[in-house]
Symmetry: C2
């Protein structure tokens, strides 16, 4: 495959943390059969972004789109990710690298999260009503 | 108001980080006019969860539902939040405190994030096609 979509997440010590990111990868891959969809992490989990993108380039990928699976734009997206991308562009000048905005900034994602928050309260009300 | 919904987030040094959480709070509050919806943070931002829940209890709130606005279940949700909740229950025995699952574990939130990831690649394809 010549195109790759890399879901970039923070990483954590607890292996359980990766589960929703793996489901997100699988959901996305299911809808993009012509594109290699994978996960890469900032820290604490493997693969890290630089090594992962280097492996994609070595495998013949020409275009990489990085989607930050972060809720907000903090230091990791404002400083760490741009520095990583600068390093990748310098190391792989023939690779076309694009970076999307943070997943959590998307209005549809925010709307789904608001639904979840509203339902969290409704569930409590229903439980209290049935008690 | 006797009921409160607290959206619990990590916090960050960059003030810009809070923007989507503030939008989420506003979206949720708009749909729950009978409930006080607010944000509280684990670290780096104010208010912190213990002080915030203490203020809600002092204001006469009887029921608090805490929704972790986190993508995955790492150490913050597996250890830090339960410890905070235990402390709050001990400090406020008359307050009914419920804790929801992480927002990022919700299938509808994951579906919206997958849409965003798919569209991130489509946007690049459309831009390349129009160039």
């Amino acid at each position: 495959m010549k195109r790759a979509l890399v879901l970039f997440a923070h990483g954590a010590r607890a292996s359980s943390w990766a589960a929703p990111f793996e489901r997100l990868r699988d959901l996305t891959q299911g809808r993009l059969p012509e594109c290699a969809v994978s996960l890469a992490f900032l820290e604490l989990m493997e693969p890290r972004l630089p090594q992962h993108v280097a492996a994609l380039a070595a495998a013949g990928v020409l275009d990489v789109t990085v989607v930050p699976v972060f809720l907000g734009q903090g230091g990791h997206l404002l400083r760490d990710l741009p520095a990583l991308i600068d390093g990748l562009r310098a190391a792989h000048p023939d690779l076309n690298i694009k970076v999307a905005g943070a997943v959590g900034e998307d209005p549809q994602v925010l709307a789904a999260m608001a639904d979840y928050c509203v339902n969290a309260l409704d569930r409590e009300a229903k439980l209290a009503g049935s008690a």
